[in-house]
């Protein structure tokens, strides 16, 4: 079941899985938490995580539960109702989180806050071996979460995701320049050792110094 939830988050669930999950998730806290967790992991991998997480799903569920039922007029809705509640709660929660995120974006420059990135997430994600979708691999050329106008032509500098030993007082810029230097050296190595020729040098943002 957890696998089906994971597949749903990735948009890869089949119709049967969808039905099973939607049926089950209404009364299964564990599944709902998995759904939240997987979305969190997915968002963190895409670096779309807001600074502060606000979980409104429970209060929204409660509010919907308190709503007077209109179901008598539409007998069909007695079947659809639990599903509808969940779907509405989920979409409203999604909107709320997006809203908070947009608000938080201002003033946030190149550095992703250390706490916001769950680096372990990638490891925990089960490896699934299957072909890529055909015919086109989706590519997000517009980055909606960053200030697009200032950042369209120039890749951002190295982003430090996590300092594993935070007690170190070394200046961030020293670490950045060290990382940039290593990445340049690596581009040089990659240019010699891959089928791409000199193209790996396009990855290097600054004017390299000799």
């Amino acid at each position: 079941m957890m696998e089906s939830v994971s597949a749903m988050v990735d948009g890869e669930a089949n119709e049967l899985e969808f039905r099973r999950v939607l049926k089950e998730i209404v009364d299964n806290d564990e599944l709902r938490h998995a759904w939240q967790r997987y979305h969190l992991v997915s968002a963190s991998l895409k670096r779309e995580l807001p600074n502060h997480m606000v979980d409104l799903s429970d209060s929204i569920r409660a509010a919907i539960d308190e709503e007077p039922s209109h179901a008598k007029k539409f007998p069909l809705h007695t079947i659809v109702k639990p599903l509808g509640r969940f779907a509405i709660a989920a979409s409203v929660a999604a909107i709320a989180v997006v809203g908070v995120q947009q608000y938080q974006q201002q003033g946030q420059e190149n550095l992703v806050p250390v706490a916001a990135v769950d680096v372990a997430a990638e490891e925990d994600e089960p490896f699934v071996h299957r072909p890529f979708p055909n015919p086109q691999v989706p590519f997000r050329t517009v980055n909606a979460t960053k200030g697009a106008a200032t950042d369209t032509s120039e890749p951002r500098p190295v982003i430090i995701l996590q300092k594993v030993s935070p007690e170190n007082q070394l200046d961030q810029r020293v670490i950045q320049s060290r990382l940039n230097e290593l990445m340049l050296q690596h581009a040089d190595n990659a240019a010699l050792n891959t089928y791409q020729g000199m193209m790996p040098f396009a990855r290097i943002p600054q004017a390299p110094k000799e």
């Binding site: 890529f132 950042d151 951002r156």
Partner: protein, 335 residues
């Protein structure tokens, strides 16, 4: 009063519409996944031949073109000229966007084959049972025809068989075998970066003046001093540093020692992905343990502390962060 009750009644159509939208979205997702799963197990040989052809074409042909590099919502443009003269490569890469930058490379020997070339060409056998050197680590799929830079291409998907490496969607020129588009794909099919030619002229005469830098502060790319290998064995490293864990299929392809910087560099490849291991004598800075990422390039810095000097170990490459970390943490002094 009348308005009020009307508003109440409007709630249901709204909810119904929201549900309808979701159902439509769901069914779109379902049909999309159903389509993508049609390809069963395939004979890898034709795709593999295309990759071998690509490896030769990129080195041996003369071409000039403009390409884009995209990642994380940003796009850069650059032009590339590549010429082969007397068995040597001459190249110049000029950035067309952002600050003006150039990289040139003069005189790389195209006949010298390194471990990466040999892997790609199937000259090094890695497992005993492997039918092709790739088949233990990647599955290859030919995904039909497309067009890039106005030229018909064949799309080959290179899908990793484990979580230690990334996947690729490569578009190869039907006419010449040149690689015209590379999409690097991470776990969860996430696109990490894309290189794509928008315009390319192959087999043209390149004037030597095209390969001279216009800017004084250009970067001169290294030439490879790692050994050209003659036999079918990957080179074995016998230096001061040992990498305790390597992702399966990766072999050493280069080794450099910089006396001035007190740095040892080891370069590993599985034929497609490359990562570098840097070991620096680090007495003053005391680099912290850091994980960083830019586009598809991941860096993991850690410390190696011995009784004698302390070292900073860095692993940089287009590999998953977990792979980089595991390699970095396994580096040990042989002394």
């Amino acid at each position: 009063m009348g308005k009020y009750s009307g508003g109440c009644r409007l709630v249901y159509p709204f909810i119904q519409r929201a549900l309808l939208v979701q159902v439509v979205l769901l069914s779109m997702l379902i049909s999309a996944t159903a389509q993508s799963d049609e390809s069963g197990p395939v004979d890898m040989a034709p795709a593999y031949l295309l990759l071998q052809r690509m490896a030769d074409a990129n080195k041996q042909l003369s071409y000039r073109g403009t390409f884009t590099y995209e990642y994380g919502g940003s796009i850069k443009t650059a032009k590339l000229a590549h010429m082969v003269k007397d068995g040597r490569e001459y190249e110049r890469l000029t950035h067309l966007s952002g600050p003006s930058r150039e990289v040139i490379r003069r005189g790389n020997d195209i006949d010298c084959q390194r471990a990466g070339d040999k892997l790609l060409r199937g000259m090094i056998r890695l497992g005993v049972n492997s039918q092709s050197p790739f088949s233990d680590y990647y599955d290859l799929y030919i995904k039909g025809e497309n067009r890039v830079a106005g030229r018909p291409v064949t799309v080959v998907h290179v899908v990793p068989r484990d979580q230690f490496r990334y996947g690729y969607a490569l578009s190869l020129d039907n006419d010449t075998g040149l690689l015209l588009q590379t999409i690097l794909i991470g776990q969860g099919k996430k696109v990490l970066e894309r290189f794509q030619f928008v315009d390319i002229h192959v087999g043209v005469l390149i004037d030597e003046s095209e390969l001279l830098p216009a800017e004084s502060d250009h970067y001169v790319a290294k030439l490879d001093h790692s050994p050209c290998i003659e036999d079918t064995e990957a080179p074995r490293y016998k230096g001061d540093w040992a990498v305790g864990w390597l992702p399966p299929g990766f072999v050493l392809t280069g080794e450099q020692k910089d006396q001035a910087l007190q740095r040892t560099t080891l370069i590993f490849t599985d034929g497609l992905a490359v990562f570098s291991v840097f070991v620096d004598n680090d007495q003053q800075l005391r680099m912290p343990e850091v994980q960083a990422q830019r586009g598809a390039t991941v860096a993991f810095l850690t410390r190696y502390e011995s009784d004698g000097p302390n070292y900073s170990v860095g692993v940089v490459g287009e590999i998953p962060p977990a792979t980089a970390r595991r390699v970095a943490q396994s580096v040990r002094s042989r002394g």
